[in-house]
Symmetry: C2
Subunit: 244 residues, 2 copies
């Protein structure tokens, strides 16, 4: 039976989502728990995509197969009792055997949190501590230029394995709550570091170091060096993954 | 010269505020930094009061004396460059030599955060993960009974060193933001575990296990066993300390 799992995690104590030898990762903690539940027969999970070290997830998704018969409700309780308390399985549902958590993704949403107020030690692992005011109007304009279908090569480290840098950003948003800016990106797919590199440029625009219209030139250059800094991982959250 | 310092910390990685041999505490981290700044002559700091292990502070206050001449602004920068990133000095001001951060306290405010929604692994160290709905109307009524001057012996572990259990709660408040209840207590002073024991009772009232009027009986009994559970430290924040 194939299951689809929705889960959340605090990435600050992990070496990212993806399994690596001798490193504490989200994937390995969940696989260990599922293998125990599956009568010690190894279970491998396939997520919608990896998240990097220190990046958080609110609704990450992954599928897996089990040999045993167990209801979704019991399975949820069993996993949560075996995984560390900074990972939590919110929902489990059964899916068809052809469902794939990565290949079937229609869209993903990421959010990025920036503290534009005073440094906050209590949120240091959960919000980028910029501690500087930003011009939100200019960032909003820049976000509009990022929306749509573009070649995002300027926002990604060159990688010979990537044949197509074209992605579609369906919708963006920015809001402020108690000096925390929350920027969101809904897109059909994101390349590695793409969100953090876009946020890096947006910060430079918000600081007045670049103009919002520079986004157009940068996208057209298709060159990573034309763009800006890479925003730190601690402010990034995989918010949602959408399927048909 | 005597200085008054306002500082914030994430208590989740510390064995409380107060210095203890061979343990990581807020006080020892700050004293270590100040001693370095003070040409390695030992500096001792006196806070408004201690906070227990895993409890956070938004605006804790402490005073200390230095031998050297340094502006408040430079001192703030110097301390922040030497202490861990989960402690932050927000403000330094000079005070008279007779000022005492503990003895001169007029009032203190604590807040307690309770998640009444789904378990959130990202906030596990920062909010009590109750994950159960509470009757806010009944908690509001109970808070009204706690306001005023009372003997709070029912909310404190018996201690022969305490001669007077009378304290005044000036004002309480409760609000909800995205499934997080924030209960606040403004009072002239608080005994050890008093806030967490009051919150423990409020949770029992909110769950319908006790009635709001029980607060009156419990206060009158002056007996800890009449009261309720002790709420976990992770949801507690020292919010503010007030002087004349």
């Amino acid at each position: 039976m194939r299951y689809l799992m929705t889960f959340s995690y605090d990435g600050s104590k992990y070496n990212g989502y993806q399994k690596q030898p001798n490193k504490r990762t989200i994937q390995s903690e969940i696989e260990k728990a599922l293998t125990t539940i599956n009568n010690n027969c190894f279970v491998s999970i396939s997520a919608s995509g990896r998240t990097d070290a220190l990046v958080h997830a609110i609704n990450q998704k992954a599928h897996f197969d089990l040999n045993i018969n167990i209801t979704c409700d019991k399975l949820k309780k069993a996993i949560n009792s075996l995984i560390p308390k900074d990972i939590y399985v919110k929902k489990i549902e059964t899916v068809s055997d052809s469902f794939h958590a990565r290949y079937n993704v229609l869209a993903k949403q990421y959010i990025y949190k920036i503290n534009i107020g005073e440094y906050n030690p209590i949120e240091k692992d959960y919000v980028l501590q910029l501690c500087h005011d930003l011009n939100i109007t200019e960032i909003k304009k820049a976000l509009k230029y990022l929306e749509g279908t573009h070649n995002f090569k300027s926002f990604v480290k060159a990688n010979p394995d990537i044949t197509d840098y074209t992605r579609t950003i369906i919708e963006t948003d920015i809001k402020e709550e108690n000096n925390i800016l929350i920027i969101s990106f809904l897109g059909t797919g994101f390349l590695r570091y793409m969100v953090r590199n876009m946020v890096g440029l947006l910060i430079e625009i918000g600081l007045g170091k670049r103009k919002s219209e520079d986004v157009i030139t940068i996208l057209n250059k298709e060159d990573r060096t034309s763009s800006g800094i890479t925003a730190l991982p601690n402010g990034l959250y995989l918010k949602d993954v959408f399927y048909e």
